[in-house]
Assembly symmetry: C2
Homo-oligomer: 659 residues x 2
């Protein structure tokens, strides 16, 4: 039998604790010693490393330890008959392995680590006194050790460690594999980073690949002189772009479900074991079986409770959305319009530049404020799980960014019909800002990392007292600790760095789609940019940041809906642009041309909403597999189940009779 990756010792999680001056003698009371012993008792393989300023504790868990944790977590896993069943260590062979041969996926593994690390509680009869240098404190009965240490700032951070072998391999065949254009080893990315990040890269890859078609069209439109045919060519371009976008979004859904099927992830979220409705745990509403059967009234009461919760939650969400939308329209819209208007009116370049700088600072502040408000609003809504909460944040914050990014462009395009300024703005945004962003996105974290290293070194030097002598970071763990974490620019509580990457993509998509008929060349810029984006994003994840926390996911979440919304918007805006282009004298007269454009708009909108009926989201083979397996499973165990159920029924009847 071949050795599965997790059977080799790979340290996957790291704890950071400060250096202490304890002597070896009173090690029994030293909190870090206690921690290490507890870890060993749980079954972890622990390696301690002395860093420059801190101490690092690397953890690895053998398969049995993870399995036990998974069983305790009541984790559901895909079995060979296609059903998802509660994990049992004794029946390991019944469960399907990951494509890379390991039993648990990275996000499952991390969940187990998390459970094990925080699961160490004081099971003694009395509180334990722990020491850290001079400080003494109590580890109370039934309290988690790691949480106690975290509250005392002794455990400074817990973060997932890079796996050097696999990281190097990915660097070679993914991040630095420039010649592969849009190709990526998605399965390896999945097993290293988890589903959410892998789905993002799969999406980015497919998007870039599909982008080559409109890029070519745009180039042709730019290079070939159509002369008098130009007014005919533009609508054709517009229609084909919209069709392209509609097909892309539907085919991405198909690819998504194929990927999910390949990775053996269940469609219904496997993360939450108990079904929770709008924050009310089902178990609290659960009525005993006999009650349900005998008393119809109770069932009705349960139903009413559910309905109340459902509608109450919904109303709260609607109210929050209304608040967000109103505040965007009433506060942000006038501000953005004022800026756009001033920019249009002011003649002096110096004042223009000053204005822009002022504006950039202001929107930074506004965005942060908006995100904070959104997070607060979301916290009073109740969602099933964290991913839905993150999606809600994305919707709310995207409203802000939408106004920020497009309202100025709309102003130039639609109100002033100033197509030269429009094209200038588009080129600016697409070329300069994207290149700048890419550079910043990669250099800023590196600068941060270097600065931190410098700070640690100078601190060390101060302690030593000698300004000379080179200090080397010999341990990999310490280097990783100093790297910045993959976190979002706003709404850190709910999102990680993926938010910024997806936002960038969505804003780009909106920019090129909504003004497609005004500037067809944009697609070519975007395609080039995205090809670079794949590699730089990969590089960023592998080399510059800490290994991100894995997130379970089945889709790219709210972003796909935002893409769909942008497609609908772009149908409308492009039609408006075409009307403006044709009606150059500003006569505003309804002529056959305008009627034709309106008809075209409606047909395209119809297509947009009808296409999902034509091509289902789930490929036939995925569905067939799923249904076939479920049917197989049921057929095998049908009889066995039945006997037990009807037996239970009979027992129940007997009980009733004797009563």
């Amino acid at each position: 039998m071949k050795v599965h990756p997790e059977e080799q010792t790979v340290f996957e999680v790291c704890l950071v604790v400060p250096k202490r001056k304890t002597k070896k003698e009173d090690a029994t009371c030293d909190c870090v010693e206690v921690l290490e012993n507890s870890f060993r008792k749980v079954g972890f393989i622990v390696e301690r490393i002395d860093g420059v300023t801190d101490e690092f504790m690397k953890l690895a868990a053998p398969l049995e330890v993870l399995g036990k944790a998974a069983a305790r977590l009541e984790m559901k896993k895909r079995t060979h008959i296609g059903m998802d069943l509660l994990f049992e260590l004794d029946e390991v062979d019944a469960f399907v392995r990951q494509p890379d041969g390991s039993l648990f996926s990275w996000s499952e593994r991390f969940r187990c680590y998390d459970h094990l690390i925080y699961g160490i509680v004081n099971e003694n009869q009395s509180a334990v006194t722990l020491k850290c240098d001079e400080e003494e404190f109590q580890w109370k009965i039934g309290e988690s050790l790691v949480r106690t240490l975290e509250s005392k700032k002794i455990v400074k951070q817990i973060f997932p460690l890079h796996d050097e072998i696999r990281r190097k391999k990915l660097l070679g065949n993914w991040a630095l594999n420039w010649w592969n254009l849009t190709g990526q080893p998605i399965d390896e990315v999945y097993s290293y980073f988890g589903a959410k990040i892998a789905l993002y890269f799969a999406f980015l890859g497919m998007y870039t690949q599909w982008m080559l078609f409109p890029a070519a069209l745009g180039l042709i439109l730019q290079l070939v002189e159509f002369g008098s045919l130009r007014l005919l060519v533009l609508p054709i371009f517009f229609i084909s772009i919209i069709l392209w976008a509609i097909m892309f979004s539907q085919f991405w859904k198909r690819k998504n479900s194929a990927l999910i099927a390949r990775w053996q992830i269940n469609y219904t979220f496997g993360g939450d074991p108990g079904y929770r409705l709008s924050g009310v745990d089902c178990t609290s509403l659960q009525v005993p079986v006999e009650l349900i059967k005998d008393q119809e009234m109770d069932k009705r009461k349960e139903k009413e409770a559910f309905q109340k919760i459902e509608w109450f939650g919904r109303l709260r969400r609607v109210r929050n959305d209304a608040i967000v939308i109103l505040s965007i329209i009433c506060l942000q819209l006038p501000f953005e319009l004022a800026y756009a208007h001033c920019y249009e009116v002011i003649q002096s370049d110096v004042i223009k530049f000053g204005l822009t700088v002022l504006y950039l600072f202001a929107i930074q502040y506004f965005t942060r404020l908006g995100a904070k408000m959104s997070v607060k609003l979301i916290n009073c809504e109740n969602y099933d799980n964290n991913e839905k909460r993150a999606d809600s944040l994305v919707y709310k914050v995207f409203g802000l960014y939408f106004m920020q990014s497009y309202i100025g462009v709309f102003y130039h395009a639609l109100l002033h019909r100033n197509f030269t300024t429009l094209r200038q703005v588009l080129v600016q945004r697409l070329l300069i800002s994207e290149v700048l962003e890419n550079v910043l996105e990669n250099s800023l974290p590196y600068l941060k990392y270097s600065y931190r290293k410098y700070k640690v070194r100078s601190k060390k030097r101060l302690e030593k007292g000698s300004p000379q002598g080179k200090i080397l970071f010999t341990s990999r763990a310490e280097k990783e600790y100093l790297k910045p974490s993959y976190s979002a620019s706003i709404g850190v509580e709910l999102e990680d760095g993926l938010f910024d990457d997806c936002l960038e993509l969505a804003l780009q998509f909106g920019m090129i789609m909504m003004f497609a008929s005004a500037f067809p060349l944009a697609f070519a810029f975007a395609a080039l940019n995205n090809i670079a984006e794949i590699r730089t994003d990969a590089l960023k994840l592998l080399a510059i940041y800490k290994r991100p926390f894995p997130r379970a996911a089945t889709t790219i979440g709210a972003w796909l809906n935002i893409f769909q919304f942008l497609i609908v918007m772009s149908i409308c805006t492009n039609c408006a642009l075409l009307v403006w282009l044709y009606d150059q004298e500003g006569k505003w007269k309804i002529e056959p041309g305008l009627a034709a454009i309106l008809v075209m708009e409606h047909v395209l909108l119809l297509l947009k909403f009808g296409f999902s009926r034509l091509v289902p989201e789930e490929p036939a083979w995925v569905k067939a597999n799923r249904v076939k397996k479920a049917a197989q499973a049921q057929d095998i165990y049908s009889k066995q189940l039945l006997r037990t159920i009807s037996g239970g029924e009979k027992a129940l009847n007997n009980v009733k009779k004797t009563e």
Copy 2:
């Protein structure tokens, strides 16, 4: 214990055979005697009735007989743990009973009857010679007796019988319960007629109930003089109507899923035991378990086969739809426009009348032709089950009816801006044609029934030779045999009478919605009409027609999509109407008013497509119940299942090792 309905002998199915002159002596060879004996052997309770011209064989089946058939059919039924499992007679207690206390629903019962009746095959070693009067024929080995007799025209018809007790009860508390306005005993309708018809009536009831709101609004608009405010009131009316329609369609979906949950019907179709993809049975593509695991290539081949079938089927469907749409646009549209134009131009009333008569005959012919073509096209498409095929027919045929019903109205409204003619046409269609249709729909079948009775009587008299003497139809079975069956006016192969009823509803909905701003009073007419429709439709089903064949269904099928389509259409047409109304001088100038209407249109369209995100189709309590039950079931049997799976795995591994 109370006696469940099916434990009383209720004759539910009837066979019609001709009267023969056989003497009692050679009864052994008489085919009807053989048939009766076979039925008794299967377990049926048989009652033979001598009618005026034919003989009737009424069948009833005790619970055990039905249960055995259900087990042989591998029927899946809901159990108390919420899972659907294969039915087993020994474990009856494990299965949930219908709301009316019976074990099988009417459509399940009928499936069993069907299976039992056609399941009688010749199991002897040689063919059996059967006689009918003088004619002799062979019942070959392995052939179905009833099919043989049907091919010889001896079994003239098999039809479900009314259950007199329940029919009378339903007549009292449903069909003749006029004062109950929109209330209906839906659960009783479900257990008597099956899910499809019950869903139609539930939909009709809810639709009528909701209709009262726009009817009241329309009445207010008609009765109150708004004076100069009129131009402001109309858009408000339009917006509230659209919002009403959007909410109605979404809330119907919720009601639908609540009903389905109450009736214990599974969402995924329970009718088809094997999963069939585009006509290819899964079993034929099924690869042995070992092959799948070892050979990745085979899996890929299977996937490719699936994809080929999927895309091929889809392309064929798109081609067919294109044929239908093109033929409607190229053939029907000019014809309808020509008629509308002639009607507008011609002055003489006599010629107008003649033209209309000619037109009515022509469209009758066209519709029949179109339906035949559609059925042919559908037969070369491959669908999972018959309901999907019926839906496909509905979509195709509705295209025809859409053109027929609305294109003339559009012509008056949009091209000629002739609002007087428009209102006239609407009143005509809504009042006269609906009343006429209701009368026809009820009287035609009755006339048919009377005529058939008369024919049978006169035939009998001829045989007897004496023109005098009254002939009475004493048996209920014979009377029911003479009643017309509940069949569709077109596409009889795929649909039953529900098609006409739903079509009437959909056409009415389109008529009142699409021209709402031109004629707000229409809603009041429609509401009145629908209140009458509920009772007349019920009466029709209970008193005038044979009991319809039960159809399994989980939704009202294609009709809901057609309603949704009509809502979208009505947003567009009403906006056009509003523009036309305001722009009375025909200046065709874009003014703020037009821009406002366009914006309003887009906002409403957005709402239409966004609303389903706001309010999910499945009420929270239904979903919670479903998920909770499924989780319960899995948790109980998880361990047991696992052991068997991993045992199988180990056995497989052992086999591999020994090889």
